[in-house]
């Protein structure tokens, strides 16, 4: 028996396939202007018995696919818990939204907070700033890690922060120090979100931005907690949705590939 989970985000669509609760296939693609078609064509590539959809576009596919639907909160909670059974606090920074979820000891969703209205604090923020500074995303994070001090960014808005970045570099500010300032800005927003759902504890860090080593290091340093990033941080939602399609009851012993406590 195979189950599929599809996470239809506003920037990327992720598909996960599981067998016996074990991830056997994962694929990501850009959503494009036609999320429905992108999702359907991804799904057509694979064979499965049941499928669950999650993410921003989850209701779009309901009329075209025999599927269940769960919120991305539940999908991330299930996915994170399956990968890291001791997980109690999840941070997902995606392309256009950010969420923080706290779980009870038994893995139930306790509190969640989402920022899905403002680009500041999301992957978009980092993308825009990387371009403004002339870095690739990879170079951006490495540069920030090299800086000994940061140039503080005062604007909260992505658009105004971009202007601020440009005027800083025009005045001769060191690019890598501006880069660190940007990384600190996104981290402070993420931490504010985390604080609203839980006291400081180990963070399960998911979403595309989890691949950014500087953000990861800064969160750990600022909160003084371990930060766990799964091998494929972007697939957590789709993986959780697939587990839901499999009727996973939350018993972490039935998930192979889970990280031991």
């Amino acid at each position: 028996m195979r189950q599929a989970g599809i996470d239809i985000g506003s920037r990327t669509v992720k598909l996960a396939l599981i067998e016996d609760n074990h991830l056997i296939f994962a694929r990501k693609t850009f959503t494009s202007h036609d999320p429905l078609e992108t999702a359907l064509s991804l799904v057509r590539e694979v064979k499965y018995d049941t499928i669950t959809a999650t993410g921003y576009g989850r209701h779009l596919v309901k009329d075209f696919l025999e599927c269940s639907v769960i919120s991305e909160i539940k999908a991330f909670a299930m996915g994170a818990r399956a990968i890291l059974p001791r997980c109690r606090l999840i941070l997902d920074i995606g392309g256009q939204d950010t969420k923080a979820i706290s779980l009870s000891e038994s893995g139930e969703m306790n509190k969640f907070e989402m920022n899905d209205r403002c680009a500041a604090g999301t992957g978009r923020f980092l993308e825009v700033m990387a371009v403004a500074l002339g870095y690739s995303l990879d170079e951006f994070s490495k540069a920030a890690l090299l800086a000994k001090r940061e140039e503080q960014i005062n604007s909260t808005c992505t658009v105004f922060a971009e202007s601020e970045v440009i005027s800083l570099t025009a005045r001769g500010a060191a690019r890598h120090e501006v880069a660190l300032g940007i990384h600190k800005a996104i981290v402070s927003r993420s931490i504010a979100l985390l604080r609203r759902v839980s006291a400081s504890q180990e963070v399960f860090f998911a979403g595309g931005v989890a691949l950014n080593d500087c953000v990861r290091a800064l969160i750990g340093r600022e909160l003084n907690v371990p930060v766990f990033v799964p091998p494929d941080p972007q697939i957590v939602g789709a993986f959780g949705a697939a587990l839901h399609a499999a009727g996973w009851n939350g018993n972490v012993r039935t998930v192979s590939g889970a990280v031991e406590s």
């Binding site: 209701h59 309901k62 639907v69 919120s71 989402m114 209205r117």
Partner: protein
């Protein structure tokens, strides 16, 4: 699944299916044609029993339309309660029929935004501002609010050149209590498991009560009860089988803000309690009868209204407890309108109370009257309802059930 039952609309007239404001407007226009005078009110604290004792008809001026907000933002800050902006926008554009037909307007010093907005409209109509005490448990609060209601009486006497005797006020008190009893009889049908009626359908049935006299409401409410009894006999279930029961609390919801209630229903929930001024708050208490001091009795009742402008707002938590006990919700949603600091800050305690004392999942929704956040609200509501242990049907079935409504 649902049994096949023919469900009649609760009020079967030419306004069925229309926004309930149309029915109220028609009622007020008919009253006016018969020579009645109208008093515009902005708040649940306006003592309508006194207004009715004067044989005047109250009309709510609280607007819930997103359409007039743009006009209001020419003067008012964008970062302000949408209710205030909407109401002001209507007046600025001179398109509010309720304001137009009001012969006088009553205002209360509830929150900053309202207080200052009232200043901007003060010279358009005869307006009387009442100073609402905000520490309701202090003994002076009752004395002061009683004094304010006496002042209101004098204002109404002067504007309308008529009086209301203590007996007439006492009469209005009794009629109000009678109406409260009727409405609570209707709420009994929401308390059923499964319910045969819920909000927002309830909202439609009760909306007219803002303006209609108890005599006029009596036959309507009687008709509603009879129809609900029939629903119960026929085994009608409001909402999907096994739907999670939701209590909504917080700021008033109406008009364009009904998107929150609609979203909860689309996500498969059924709203069994609405703890707000647009819901059950007006019917939560009785006014003490035959005290010999009807104005003081009215004042005492009104000070019990648990608005977040009050501090400490202990009664909100008592009311939440009462409603949880009566309606047995599975989850609680606290609706806070954008820029409403009172309800927003109070939400911290409400959340703790609901989760810790009652062990219920809790969600705060911060919103306005626009449609731009409907998707975001839905995601949050779905996440909330996913934490409610499934009642009868399995997860799959109740997602399919709600698809029928989408």
């Amino acid at each position: 699944m649902h049994t096949k039952v023919t469900v009649e609309p609760l009020i079967d007239d030419e306004y069925r299916g229309e926004p309930p404001t149309k029915r109220v407007l028609a009622y007020l226009q008919a009253q006016r044609e018969e020579g009645a005078k109208i008093v515009g009110i902005y708040c649940g604290y306006a003592p309508v029993e006194l207004i009715r004792a004067f044989d005047l008809v109250p009309a709510s001026l609280c607007a819930f339309s997103n359409a007039t907000i743009e006009a209001a933002e020419a003067h008012l800050p964008a970062n302000l309660c949408p209710l205030i902006k909407s109401s002001y926008g209507y007046i600025l554009k001179d398109v509010c029929p309720f304001f137009a037909m009001s012969d006088a307007v009553i205002a209360e010093t509830t929150c900053d935004g309202k207080k200052k907005m009232f200043e901007l409209i003060a010279d358009r109509k005869s307006m009387h501002v009442m100073d609402l005490p905000q520490l309701p448990d202090e003994p002076e609060a009752l004395d002061n609010w009683t004094a304010m209601i006496h002042k209101l009486r004098r204002f109404l006497e002067s504007v309308f050149d008529r009086t209301a005797t203590d007996d007439q006020i006492e009469g209005a008190i009794k009629l109000a209590n009678e109406r409260t009893r009727w409405v609570n009889r209707i709420f009994d049908y929401t308390a059923l498991d499964p319910p045969v009626i819920a909000w927002p359908e309830l909202n439609e049935a009760l909306f007219l009560a803002q303006s209609a006299s108890s005599e006029d409401m009596a036959s309507i409410l009687d008709g509603v009860v009879k129809k609900l009894e029939k629903r119960k006999r026929d085994g009608f279930v409001y909402g999907p089988t096994g739907a999670p029961r939701v209590m909504v609390t917080g700021c008033p919801v109406g008009g364009d803000a009904l998107k929150v209630l609609d979203t909860i229903e689309k996500a498969g929930g059924v709203i069994v309690a609405l703890e707000s001024c647009s819901g059950s708050k007006p019917y939560a208490e009785f006014i003490e009868e035959d005290t010999g001091d009807p104005i003081r009795a009215i004042a005492a009742r009104y000070l019990k209204i648990p608005c977040a402008c009050m501090t400490p707002n202990t009664r909100r938590f008592i009311e939440i407890d009462r409603l949880i006990q009566r309606f047995k919700p599975d989850a609680v949603v606290d609706v806070v309108l954008q820029a409403c600091h009172g309800f927003n800050i109070e939400s911290v305690r409400v959340g703790e109370h609901v989760q810790q004392k009652h062990g219920l999942p809790f969600l705060k929704i911060l919103t306005d009257f626009s449609q731009s956040d409907v998707g975001q609200i839905r995601t949050r509501v779905e996440a909330l309802l996913e934490t409610v242990p499934v009642r009868q049907a399995c997860d799959e079935a109740f997602h399919r059930c709600k698809e029928e409504k989408t």
